[in-house]
Symmetry: C2
Subunit: 220 residues, 2 copies
Amino acid sequence: MGFYENDEDAFLPLRDVVFKQLREEILYGKLKPGERLMEIALSERLGVSRTPVREGIRLLEKEGLVVMLPRRGAHVASITAKQLEDVLEARRTLETFAVNACCARITHARFEELNEANRKFAEAVDTRDLRQMADTDTAFHNIIIDTAGNEKVKELLVSLKEQIFRYKYEFMKEMDDPTRLVREHDQIVKAIGESRSDKAVELLRMHIDSQAIAIYRKIK
Amino acid sequence: MGFYENDEDAFLPLRDVVFKQLREEILYGKLKPGERLMEIALSERLGVSRTPVREGIRLLEKEGLVVMLPRRGAHVASITAKQLEDVLEARRTLETFAVNACCARITHARFEELNEANRKFAEAVDTRDLRQMADTDTAFHNIIIDTAGNEKVKELLVSLKEQIFRYKYEFMKEMDDPTRLVREHDQIVKAIGESRSDKAVELLRMHIDSQAIAIYRKIK
DNA sequence: TAGTGCGCCATTGTATACAAATAAAAAGAC
DNA sequence: GTCTTTTTATTTGTATACAATGGCGCACTA
């Protein structure tokens, strides 16, 4: 391992380094919702000046991970039950669109990727490694979204999912039977493979909604 | 008229003043797609330092109105045919969701607002004032979106529409019969009034698609 | 003791100076 | 004459200094 934790960051503008670092800390719970992000403290901790910290925070705001109040600084975005509902509804709307488009465009190779991705997710579920589970689940859904072929929808979904990732992560901790998610994925894959787009849409809707309900219960 | 062009800007952070000013110039065509935004030139023109200019540009990036390349500065976002398609598809997906939700939640008062908004749009069409037409059309659609009651969907739609506003604006210039839009709005209002959500969704889809095709023809 | 006003301190907002990098122009080699 | 190399100028990236604001505590008053 080199001097830098992540070699590819070596030539990135500092604002992006700050962004990635803080993003990581927010998504995986090191920085908690509501926590205040103070520029001077962060610039000292990260070893850069205030300027790239400010700009990194602006990038986080763009992703919806922090909220800024003029003269009152930046806070890690927390979420109300209503906001969570809204985000999940938006996600469901866009992701059902995506799975429908995916059915129309999927190739054999992509279909195999999808199967493989769910196999990896199943593996992660077996190990009960939370981070691994979250990442492989995201990867699975991303293949569907990529296959849909709409870059803007993809961009919006990435942002929406990040905004609730932290809560989903917390929720997965306490899930009794995560293998159910694997089975749900399998059903979706099957429907896509059979080009039954209506069924795939309905299964995905249920898949998202069941998670929505669980997360919602946690936050309420 | 006071010293400031817009009094409410007087106490706003400069980054927001810069943001609003440049946003206006981009949306209404003073700054053209692809044009480069250079920090020093802008800071001189707007009479502020580079810092708020940089931050204002970051806000424009968040709205998708400019794109930034590291070390190569910011450009007014231009759009390829594919990107336009993607944005319009995303908009259609979210706005048909919105009109469906709107049907379920609309009150009598809101319904009257909707009628009134389309009356104002019809007025603007009569005068052929392009800016007025664009603004009242936006207002009409926004009532539907507001009534749907999903803040996140609203936020996403505002952003998506801004990204194509400029092209829509150009397209309206050359439209032979803009009164057709008024009639389409009327049909949508009627369907909402009769709580026929399926019909409203279908009409809105067609309304958006017909514009999409026209804009698409212009850009291709 | 409760309430109000004043002043200090921490923090964000803005300006500016300097460093680094890119692109364009000029010089040189073949 | 064209291609390569070097130089130079312009522009963005980063650091830092200073200004302005808002919150908080303390003192003063009723």
